[in-house]
C-alpha cells in the first residue's frame, strides 16, 4: 500500500491527482480514459473530504491510500470530518427544470458513482472513508 497525507486545503487536490495518475499509469493496465475517470473520482472525494474538515474546523490531515489486487486497484480517501449520511443527499430537480440552476453543488457523489466500478462510503462521527475501486490488471513488465 502507498499512502499520501495532505493538509485539508484545496491547493493540494492537484497533488492527489498526480499521485493516483502516476501510480495508475506505471503500475496498472488501464486505458487513458479510465485513468481520467479515476483522477476525477478521487479528486471529487478529496474535495468532499476537505469540505468536511472545513465544516468541523479540524487541523487533521486527509489521507489517500493506494492498494492493489490482481484484478483491481483501490483508492481510499479518509477524512476526520463529522461524517454524513450518503442516503440523505438531496436529489436535484431534473436538468430540464429551470430550478436546476439554483443548485451549484451536490454533483460530486453522482459523478463518483458513475466513474468507478465500485464505491463504498463508511462514515461515522470520527470521519469518513470513501473507497473507490477500478477493475484492472497489473501493467505488463
Amino acid at each position: 500500500m502507498v499512502e499520501l497525507e495532505i493538509p485539508a486545503e484545496p491547493e493540494f487536490v492537484g497533488l492527489v491527482r498526480l499521485f493516483v495518475s502516476s501510480l495508475a499509469t506505471t503500475r496498472r493496465e488501464l486505458a487513458d480514459d479510465r485513468i481520467d475517470d479515476l483522477k476525477l473520482a478521487v479528486s471529487e472525494a478529496c474535495t468532499n473530504a476537505i469540505d468536511a474538515h472545513a465544516d468541523s474546523a479540524t487541523d487533521d490531515r486527509v489521507s489517500v491510500s493506494w492498494a492493489e489486487g490482481d484484478d483491481r486497484l483501490e483508492v481510499a480517501v479518509n477524512d476526520r470530518g463529522p461524517g454524513f449520511d450518503v442516503a440523505s443527499i438531496p436529489q436535484h430537480p431534473p436538468v430540464t427544470d429551470p430550478e436546476r440552476l439554483n443548485f451549484e453543488r451536490g454533483l460530486g457523489i453522482p459523478l463518483i458513482r458513475s466513474l468507478v466500478d465500485e464505491v463504498d462510503f463508511k462514515t461515522s462521527e470520527a470521519g469518513t472513508t470513501v473507497t473507490l475501486v477500478m477493475y484492472c490488471g497489473p501493467a505488463e513488465e
Partner: protein, 111 residues
C-alpha cells in the same frame, strides 16, 4: 497551479478562454471572472474550455452559477469543448441539456 483566463471580444460576444485545471482550488477564480464580466455589462458570454485539462464538479457548479446569473440579467452563456474527457462530465451530470455546447468559438459566436 495556474488557471488562464483570457477575455476577447469576437463577433459581438465576450469570449472567456479558460486554460489549465478547474477544480476546488482554481474554480473560485473562474467564478470571480464571470461575475466581473456580468457586472461590466457583458450579456453574451462564450466560455471556451478547449484549453482545460481537467474539470470537476466545482467547476461545473461555477458554470451553472454563471448561466443562472446571466439568464437573470437577460443574457446567455454558451460553451466550447470538443474534448471527450470534458464533455463526459457534462454528459454524466445531464448538463448537456442545460448548456449550449459548441465545437468551436466561431460556431458559438455565430448566433
Amino acid at each position: 497551479m495556474d488557471l488562464g483566463l483570457d477575455v476577447t471580444e469576437q463577433n459581438g460576444h465576450t469570449v472567456l478562454a479558460v486554460k489549465g485545471e478547474v477544480d476546488v482550488y482554481t474554480a473560485p477564480r473562474l467564478r470571480e471572472r464571470l461575475v466581473e464580466l456580468v457586472t461590466e455589462g457583458k450579456r453574451k458570454i462564450v466560455v471556451d474550455l478547449e484549453g482545460v485539462d481537467f474539470l470537476d464538479s466545482t467547476g461545473l457548479g461555477v458554470l451553472v452559477g454563471g448561466l443562472k446569473r446571466l439568464r437573470s440579467n437577460d443574457g446567455e452563456m454558451s460553451l466550447v469543448s470538443t474534448q471527450s474527457r470534458i464533455l463526459k462530465v457534462f454528459e454524466i451530470t445531464g448538463l448537456t441539456k442545460v448548456f449550449s455546447i459548441h465545437d468551436s468559438v466561431e460556431a458559438a459566436t455565430a448566433g
